[in-house]
Symmetry: C2
Subunit: 221 residues, 2 copies
Amino acid sequence: MQSSQWTSDLHWVREGKQDRSRKTQAKLLDAAEDLFAEHGIDGATMADIAAAAGCSIGAFYHHYRDKRALQFALFDRYATMFEKTNRIALDPARWEGARIADIVQSYVQVSIENDRMRPGQRRAATELGRVEPEIRSHVLKLRAMMDTGIRELLLARSDEIGHSDPELAISFVLDQLGSMIRTRVHEPEMPTRFASQPDEQFFAETVRSVCAYLQVDPPSH
Amino acid sequence: MQSSQWTSDLHWVREGKQDRSRKTQAKLLDAAEDLFAEHGIDGATMADIAAAAGCSIGAFYHHYRDKRALQFALFDRYATMFEKTNRIALDPARWEGARIADIVQSYVQVSIENDRMRPGQRRAATELGRVEPEIRSHVLKLRAMMDTGIRELLLARSDEIGHSDPELAISFVLDQLGSMIRTRVHEPEMPTRFASQPDEQFFAETVRSVCAYLQVDPPSH
DNA sequence: ATTATCTATAGATCTATAGATAATGC
DNA sequence: ATTATCTATAGATCTATAGATAATGC
């Protein structure tokens, strides 16, 4: 039966019957992640991807229906990881007794470290979102989930905030942090003076800036 | 003589002898700027660009040697405007007697407004820089020029700053502002709560944040 | 008479397929 | 016996050119 050649929920990848399958599929995903991030989706040809994965173009099309299917599979892997990481990191129980400055500091550190580990993933996901509406709406949902999670951690501590409009101030800070983290890890458009400083300095000044703006106490330690 | 078909200093564009030439060339640049910004360089085909400019592919190749030449010409137009704007805006005489908060506020406002006027230019220039090393180094030079200009305006007013390391703090603030302006105008990855606020609110909170961090007085009016 | 534009298409490049060959595991 | 891989190539798309036609301005 032709129609079940592709798995049901992930209808873009063939369900392999041999061990080789999984390995080849993973290698193709890794190769695509790197090449998409570096050259963009259109800039990475199937020949490039197959070569980087150490297999042939024919082998690729045995596993994935087409280039687009690879994009979906790649995003699927990213989304799963992203959701899991956030579910753990943003669990309110985890932050029992913590103050705003501690949460912000940890948020900045963890975000930077996560993004650095797999530099290709986020850029690939973002670029996919630009082309594939289905992926775009999923990306937005994931980011909104993270945004809501951290927002509520901070909102629950509004009484620490000296800024006259705590809710507005929190929204501003979240945008500010998101923007700066993205720039530092993914799109350092130019080697500015501060970009060349070590991460520790970036953490310190970022937290300092947020605390000064919100008018909350600096981190405890 | 074949070699002088292209003008000497801008060796990628033909020097037109009729009025039509200038018009067609300008229309092609405008079309390319929009399409490059929207679909990326590879995503915009010569057929698209010619159609958007209201001429044929053949007409395009009469004026520009190839697609790459169009990129250089486009960047040239951007660079000229960018440099002129900055030379005026960052003239120390213009800021005689101004305080840090006033300079920062004006910088944010002018940057946002300039970028909004021609939304395609910066994105096109940035993407060109990714592919063309010659353009990349020129982009870096332009940005460094702007960075130095505003840095010196602020450094000259170091005595207003309460932050313990004024030079470091200025570097941090410039990165922060650059990142936030870019995100707001060019790469609003997702419709966050704060992104939907009007520009005035963005200006106000941004300036407030910078003043709190630097420990300087708020803007005068 | 020169300059600019158009149509049609050659040549290059990339995606995806067809058909043959090799490896796996019951 | 089935599954996975490879080589070779058809078909689509895009850049750039060739040659013919139209507009400009001396």
